[in-house]
């Protein structure tokens, strides 16, 4: 019960933050990525502000024996920089540059009631499902 409330509240703050910071406006994001055009630094303040909080807070949080409402911290365990990481990040960047949306802003932009985010999110889900299928296929062939 407590954990579900936190998930909802944390999602709400996240969505509010993406709205307030104008990341749901594709033009802002594309303006940041357009380094040879009229560069828009907005995204730098958003990412900078967010990382400033996590870089300080996570240090203290991760010293706790366990999370307040859960038994363990569920952190990524892969330490190495491997080919799937770089290939995946590269593909994600291309998609981000084409659409102007990364997953968070794409979903929150659904509230703008326009077809662009709707098509983006539908294609996002198809892309995720395709990866899931690709992964089960490669696992089965091993």
């Amino acid at each position: 019960m407590n954990q579900t409330f936190i998930a909802l509240l944390s999602g709400l703050l996240f969505g509010l933050g993406l709205g307030l910071s104008q990341m749901i406006d594709r033009q802002r994001v594309l303006g940041f990525l357009d380094v040879t055009g009229t560069w828009d630094p907005t995204l730098l303040f958003v990412l900078g502000g967010a990382v400033a909080v996590t870089a300080v807070a996570f240090r203290f949080v991760l010293r706790l024996p366990h999370p307040i409402f859960a038994k363990t911290f569920r952190l990524p365990t892969k330490p190495d920089i491997d080919a799937p990481l770089l290939a995946g990040a590269a593909l994600f960047g291309i998609g981000w540059g084409i659409s102007g949306y990364c997953p968070g802003p794409g979903i929150v932009a659904l509230v703008l009631v326009s077809w662009q985010p709707l098509v983006f999110v539908a294609a996002l889900v198809v892309g995720m499902a395709t990866y899931q299928g690709y992964q089960s296929a490669t696992r089965a062939s091993k």
Partner: protein
């Protein structure tokens, strides 16, 4: 561009940082949107909290756009193909690379993860090159 554009940007960024910290300190989870969304679609056993997080995100967006926003968020025109192709690549790429701007960016950089730093440098680079090509080489707007 408005002179004080950076104030809401910074405030929004701080809220995102607080949200990620809350999820970690209470639930022990990383606020990576691509992972949360993918896990909410029915493959993960613990999809309930992920679905609630996504519902919360949309509620936060509604609260901003129809409550706080001084003017409606602009919706620049875009063709259908950039959305289809972009969405697909973002979906596939973030699963292959285990994260997006939030998981690798906000949380990974916060944990001082070298793996996440490599991902962030990679996706920022390919995104900037892509925008350079679409805007300045192909001049698609």
């Amino acid at each position: 561009m408005a002179e004080f554009y950076w104030i809401p940007a910074l405030a929004g960024g701080l809220l995102i940082g607080v949200s990620a910290t809350m999820l970690l300190v209470f639930n022990g989870r990383i606020a990576g949107i691509s992972g949360i969304v993918s896990g909410s679609l029915g493959w993960a056993a613990d999809r309930q909290w992920r679905r609630l997080f996504v519902v919360g995100m949309v509620l936060g967006g509604v609260f901003y756009e129809y409550g706080l926003a001084v003017s409606p968020t602009p919706q620049p025109m875009a063709g259908v193909w950039p959305m289809v192709l972009g969405g697909f690549l973002v979906g596939f790429g973030t699963r292959l690379g285990n994260g997006c701007t939030s998981g690798h960016g906000v949380c990974g950089l916060g944990r001082l993860s070298v793996r996440s730093l490599a991902a962030v440098v990679t996706f920022l680079s390919t995104a900037m090159v892509t925008v350079y090509i679409t805007r300045h080489v192909l001049t698609l707007g």
